[in-house]
Symmetry: C2
Subunit: 435 residues, 2 copies
Amino acid sequence: MSTITAFETLDVRFPTSLMLDGSDAMNPDPDYSAAYLRIVTDSDDGLSGHGFVFTIGRGNEVEVAAIDALASRFVGRNVEELLADMGATWKEMLHDSQLRWLGPEKGVMHMAIGAVINALWDLRAKRSGEPLWKHLAGFSPEEILDLVDLRYLSDAITRDEALEILRAARDGIGEREQELIANGYPAYTTGPGWLGYDDAKLERLAKEAVASGFAQIKLKVGADIEDDKRRLRIAREAVGPDIRIAVDANQRWDVDEAVEWMSQLAEYDLAWIEEPTSPDDILGHAEIARRLAPMPVATGEHVANRVIFKQMLQAKSLDILQMDACRVGGVNENISILLLAAKFGIPVCPHAGGVGLCETVQHLSMFDYLAVSGTKSGRMIEFADHLHEHFASPISVSSGRYWPPTAPGASSEMLQSSIAEYGYPGGSYWVANPL
Amino acid sequence: MSTITAFETLDVRFPTSLMLDGSDAMNPDPDYSAAYLRIVTDSDDGLSGHGFVFTIGRGNEVEVAAIDALASRFVGRNVEELLADMGATWKEMLHDSQLRWLGPEKGVMHMAIGAVINALWDLRAKRSGEPLWKHLAGFSPEEILDLVDLRYLSDAITRDEALEILRAARDGIGEREQELIANGYPAYTTGPGWLGYDDAKLERLAKEAVASGFAQIKLKVGADIEDDKRRLRIAREAVGPDIRIAVDANQRWDVDEAVEWMSQLAEYDLAWIEEPTSPDDILGHAEIARRLAPMPVATGEHVANRVIFKQMLQAKSLDILQMDACRVGGVNENISILLLAAKFGIPVCPHAGGVGLCETVQHLSMFDYLAVSGTKSGRMIEFADHLHEHFASPISVSSGRYWPPTAPGASSEMLQSSIAEYGYPGGSYWVANPL
């Protein structure tokens, strides 16, 4: 028996704005950051649980305060009890009525719930000796259902329907695990397409992406239509006709504007238009999808919770669902989103990049392939080649694929040396380069 | 010319859970709290601007951290410039791309934007020598439009349509001001209906409400159907057939559950069912409204922003729109919500109660009457008799009406003595009664 003896929260910020990595039509100068949590126990195993919220700089300290408010409740609690019923542990945070007022189930406080439960998942998977994707796939359908909260979802998916999906996925799960280990999980790359890159860099990176085995790249759009056309022409020439090109507007437009702008780009044979408008605008996305069809609409990285996703599926607002490992309430809520997507037959292509999002979300896609949707058809995980060197178990991406992590845990642990350097404002980098 | 020299943020909490004031089906034990902001200048006038976010206890410190992150940017800035263009001042916060990531436009960070801009409105109105409702009504239609951000709204209301609404309301504005001063603005009371009150207290308070001149009361429901029936019977007998009774489920149900539960209560001739399900569930509310018609559906106190309200109006999710002074991004965003409601012909009956919500939201309803919808028809402001004694300019409610405030400002200034007593955790009350 062991006890949670302490937790440590850290404000970690990387000066990515200097290179315009991550620049898009709404986010010209992000400093990729993590509100980071480490949960410590008195067990002899020496294992700790790591989780975080991804932010883009200012306000990271607010997210740290939110994680503090939640994590403090677990100090002194029995670890085995908390880990044995991860559904109950998650719901204890979700249903804290006083904290719920601050959302409910959205924004700073909800993402903090995700960081805390993800840190506990990291600890649980480490204790099991398995990577999280494999650990989760070992749960029975009933055990998986106990992890989620179907409140507010029953008009779209009942408990019985969810159970049916999970039971059906038991067939062939062992074969799919072998197949995943042998062939990996498809990736696409956003590397070439940041808005702050010049044409030569775009062209070079697009060619490199094809040479590296990626079957899809993604470009940021939405700042200037003529720039978008020129950049798409350059990208299409660089990659040839067989590589898919997706575009991402990062919430730049209103409904009519999205339709008009994207109609001008349709000739470039696009894989999808991502985030054409506000992530809260279910009906707006539905209208855009209807008017731009057959061009697929993708969204999700800023969708606040399962209730918004449910409606986007009901209203046909999206053709590709882009879950994010750190936006909603962690692993548990993301499982309910995977179930909704499976019910509606919509492929999940997770948002990643930032810092640590690739590391964490890969587990969810691989779990989905084994235990929920049972397929990789139409599915890819985003890849951006930033900041992986700061993680204890960085992703393995080659030949255009994510290769399943083998280290125990959720791949969410950052290196101590990185924290010492990029802790804000006291890390060595920020002391030497104050804002 | 003057400069913002400092700001002070305070965590203020009232131990309301001891009395079960404010108890409902989702919030059994709220401690009404304020993440409170005071903005100080070097002007000779000695005026300061006050704003806050209402929370119900734990997590109030997270909201304080969010206000700190925003308010710090204004220290050293020219006051006259900030106050002269309140639209630009608001949008500077709204469009900070790094902070926007923490929402976007929802939850902790968005409410903090509301607190900061509301504090600046308080300062501006004090400088003008007018109460905020009158000060805002003195803006021209074009000046009012400059305060709002129509991004993401153009599929529901265009700039020209908004201008037309505001111009039409110029007719008779002087007469309506006189009428408002003479007759006040209708109120309804939630005082009798908290779930934690016993039957005798409910009956006594319901009778007192009628004797005090209220034409509508509200009861909390959703914990137990038989309790709800009994309490509604008691309330109906206490108030007689001519007083309206609304009920409030505080997000307790899924869609089918809401319809089934409320169908059993329809015989009590209800004014509305409030928050039947998740405040994010636009389509769910629409389905409930359709199936329960003609019983009106009300919602809004937890609606995160104008984009969700827009869709609720488009989808016919609500019959009564319950804006909240401190949930969305302050006065500016609430003006856009008033414009949307006017466009769709939906009455606004603001959420109030808590601590300071009555004080602040009354200005918006009175402004709406003068300068936006131009009518009080079907409109009431919620009233709950809690904690008004802590404000420098508390509401004046009698004969079932709010009487227009006359003191300069937004009525958002809390007494120093109250802050000294209920500041958390260092105030005299909390030192004597630690949690």
